[in-house]
Amino acid sequence: MQRAALLIGVVLLVLAVLAPWLAPVDPNKQSLIARFRPPLGFAGARPGHWLGTDELGRDILSRGLHGLGLTLMLAALGATLGLMIGGTLGLLAGVVGGRTQAAIMGAVDTQIAVPFTLIALFVLTVFGSTLTVLVVVLGLYGWEQYARIVRAEAARLMTLPFIEAARCAGASPVRIALTHVLPNLVSPLVVQFTPSLSNIILLESTLSFLGLGVQPPTATLGAMVGVGRDFMPTAPWIVLVPAALILAVTFSIQILGDWLRDRADVRLRRR
């Protein structure tokens, strides 16, 4: 199961990275005589368009590959940004404690209390749906998870003897945080990174699906499903191809995430 997921994940990643070279056609090239062509093997298919064409005659395989690349890149950027924001704030809260901790955790509680889709909707409308804004929005999604995990773990570590020893040896708080606490946080952070990645992919594709994420004609998987929705009765492949890609991505990330967490657990138990 994990092997299969890992294999699918790696294949998808390679496909996404190599999209510009693998894609047979320019993903935005329109062709009015080749609109709504079904995938190869169905009546009316057009050679050269393996998975058919969409409502503007664009090659679905090429758009799918490029969309996959963009989706994964946005997710990776967003998840990393969230990790950095949440990790820093969580570390600060856990190490410093007191008022700082109360303020940071208050912000965390506020963010948890409000459904993030609302915030995303609002921010994207006000600042416009550019790629930069989108990455920031995706980064803000999930930072509170990191902050909570890091704070809890850092606060626990701060009570342990080796931290006290470091403090007695005259280490500054910054040094304690960076060289003594931070290395011990890597494993829980890695475990949190995977589900957060998959959540961010879900959010990005949902926003793009609703027409608020990446703007046309740029291809992302969510936007392809969103646009293709209008042509479902006559040309279901326009929707099915990107939907299948989204499923493959989230499934493999889910399974890998579970596997990672189980491994991390075992290590914790052994210690």
Binding site: D109, A113, P115, T125, A152, A155, M232
Partner: protein, 333 residues
Amino acid sequence: MLNLALRTLLRMALTFFVIVTLVFLVTRLTGSPVDFVLGEGLTAEDRQILIRYYALDRPLWDQYMAFLRGFTDGEFGLSFVERRPVAQIVAERIWPSLQLLIAAVSVTLVVAIPLGIFAAVWRDRWFGSAVMVLAFFGYAIPDFVLAVFLVLTFSYWLNWLPVMGNGTALHFLMPTAVLSAALMRFTRNAMLDVLGQDYMRTALAKGLPEHRVILRHGLGNAWITILSVVGLKLAGLAASGSVVVEAVFSWPGIGELLVRSAIQRDYPVLQFGVVAVALAVIVINMLTDLAYGLADPRMRQGAGRCPSCTPPPPPARSAACGTRPMPCSGPPC
């Protein structure tokens, strides 16, 4: 208990205040609303008139106070698109949204929770595995993809169900299914956690019949978790889930209104809609917290609010990963 209620209320008020302030600041600090609402083709003179009309020439503080006053006298301005009072537009949308939510929550209570319990009890049999696989699929599949698959199958292929709108009972089937799918994932894990506890083994060892142990000792403890998850999830659904589901099925509810006003840049509607939904979510969260306090005797004494973080819950397998767990930050309790 009173202490807990007061603290919850205070936190709720504070959260709401922060949200309102942020919404205000975000809209005002990104430039004059007049510019990105009406944009091109506006003479300098008209622009001045509009700015005066919306009181944008006043100091920021006065605008903020006026914005806050809107919440006390129910004056939230006119929709840019429909030229009708915002409060009226939003109010029309409440009932359809509520209907959908009630349907989804009822289905969840009747189907998902028993299913989750059976899956947890019979976790070694095929039934448990089947539900488990279902839960995994349900978690990994985005709502909109599930919706698209359902529409393709039941509307276009089999021709059984209508695609959009909310006219008849048939219209309810697919949106309800998608919404309650989101809820189903959680029951099983809550029940599994409880079934693994020591007191369950003790009860069995005492010689109590199994069904009694499961119903009294197991469900008696699990329903607290279920309650809180349903409460929190319901709140999240009211916004996130409904936004997608309503948009996909053209359901005339608040979620659809929010997406539409976001795309049309209908600021007053979006601003008020976001604040209203946020308020609803906060209130539901608060009620959940209070119900939690009533349901779990351990919560009534002081420290409160996060029984799940002492001791840390065992990491639930699969379906619950990456979901937003119980809020249990703040000072260690």
